[in-house]
C-alpha cells in the first residue's frame, strides 16, 4: 500500500496530475470522516476534506518520502479542521433552528425527505446524539478521540500527526474519555 502510494507521489511530483486521483480515492473516506466528526456538518466536512487534498497536492514537494504519507495527510486535514472550528460561528450547527421555520431544524428537514424504518431512525438519532456529544468536547480532546476511535490510529501516529509527545496524547485521550463517559452514561 505505502509502496503504491509512494509510486503515485513520485508521478505527481513529476507533474502527472492524474496520479493524484488514485491517492484521493484511497484516502477520501478516512479524511472525510475525520473532518465530519470534527465539524459535525456534512457540507463543511466536504469543503475541508477537499481543501486538505488540494493543499497536499500543492505542497507535495514538502512531503518527506521517508515518512508515512497518511500521517502527513492527516496532519493537514486535522489542522484545517481545527482552524475551521476556531473560526466558526457558534450558532452554525445542524440543530440550530432554521430561521423563519418555527422550530424546524436542519435534522427535521433532512429527515423529511426520506422515510426511514423505525429502527434505522433510532440508530440515526442515536448517532446524531453521539456526534453532538463529540462536538461538545474542547477541540484538543475532540481531535485525539476522533483520531483514536474513529480513524483508529495508534497513539504513536496521533503523536506524529499532532506533533505533540505521546504522553500528552495519552493525557488528552484520558480526559476526553472521562468527559464522554459523563456525557454518555445516561444513554
Amino acid at each position: 500500500m505505502e509502496t503504491l502510494i509512494k509510486k503515485r507521489i513520485k508521478q505527481v511530483k513529476k507533474g502527472d496530475q492524474n496520479a493524484f486521483a488514485e491517492i484521493v480515492d484511497i484516502y477520501k473516506d478516512k479524511i472525510y470522516q475525520l473532518c465530519y466528526r470534527m465539524l459535525g456538518n456534512a457540507h463543511e466536512a466536504e469543503d475541508i476534506a477537499q481543501e486538505a487534498f488540494i493543499r497536499a497536492y500543492v505542497n507535495i514537494h514538502t512531503y518527506d518520502m521517508n515518512k508515512k504519507f497518511s500521517t502527513w495527510l492527516y496532519r493537514i486535514a486535522t489542522n484545517l479542521s481545527i482552524d475551521r472550528i476556531r473560526k466558526k460561528k457558534p450558532d452554525f450547527y445542524l440543530d440550530a433552528e432554521v430561521s423563519g421555520t418555527d422550530g424546524l431544524n436542519m435534522y427535521s428537514q433532512v429527515a423529511a425527505d426520506v422515510s426511514l424504518p423505525e429502527d434505522e431512525l433510532e440508530t440515526l438519532e442515536l448517532q446524531q446524539t453521539i456526534q453532538g456529544e463529540i462536538l461538545k468536547l474542547p477541540d484538543k480532546y475532540r481531535t485525539v478521540i476522533v483520531l483514536k476511535y474513529i480513524d483508529e490510529l495508534s497513539l504513536n501516529e496521533i503523536s506524529e500527526i499532532l506533533t505533540i509527545p505521546v504522553g500528552t496524547v495519552k493525557t488528552r485521550i484520558h480526559r476526553g474519555r472521562e468527559a464522554l463517559r459523563k456525557q454518555l452514561r445516561h444513554l
Binding site: G15, Q17, E46, R177, L180
Partner: protein, 82 residues
C-alpha cells in the same frame, strides 16, 4: 464516585492496552470488590463503544472528481523547480 484516582489511571491504562501483568492483577481484583470503580469502568467502555459505533461514513459521491477539478493547472515550472 470511584475510590481513588490511582485506580482510574489503571482503568485508562487498561483501555490503552498498557497495563503490566501486575497492574492487571491489581485492577481485576479491585473491580471484583469495588462497585463504584466497576461502574466507572463500565461507563468508560460504553462511551468508547458509542463513539466507535459512529465510525462508518463515506465521502460523498464525486468527491475525487471535485478535488481533481479544483486542483491548480499543472505547473510548467515543475521541471526547473528541482
Amino acid at each position: 464516585m470511584s475510590c481513588s484516582s490511582e485506580y482510574v489511571q489503571l482503568l485508562h491504562k487498561y483501555l490503552d492496552h498498557e497495563l503490566t501483568s501486575d497492574e492487571e492483577k491489581i485492577i481485576k481484583e479491585h473491580l471484583h470488590s469495588c462497585e463504584a470503580c466497576y461502574q466507572h469502568f463500565h461507563e468508560l467502555e460504553k462511551a468508547v463503544a458509542f463513539v466507535q459505533s459512529t465510525s462508518h461514513i463515506e465521502a460523498p459521491l464525486n468527491f475525487t472528481e471535485g478535488v481533481m477539478n479544483s486542483l491548480p493547472k499543472e505547473k510548467r515550472t515543475v521541471s526547473w523547480n528541482r
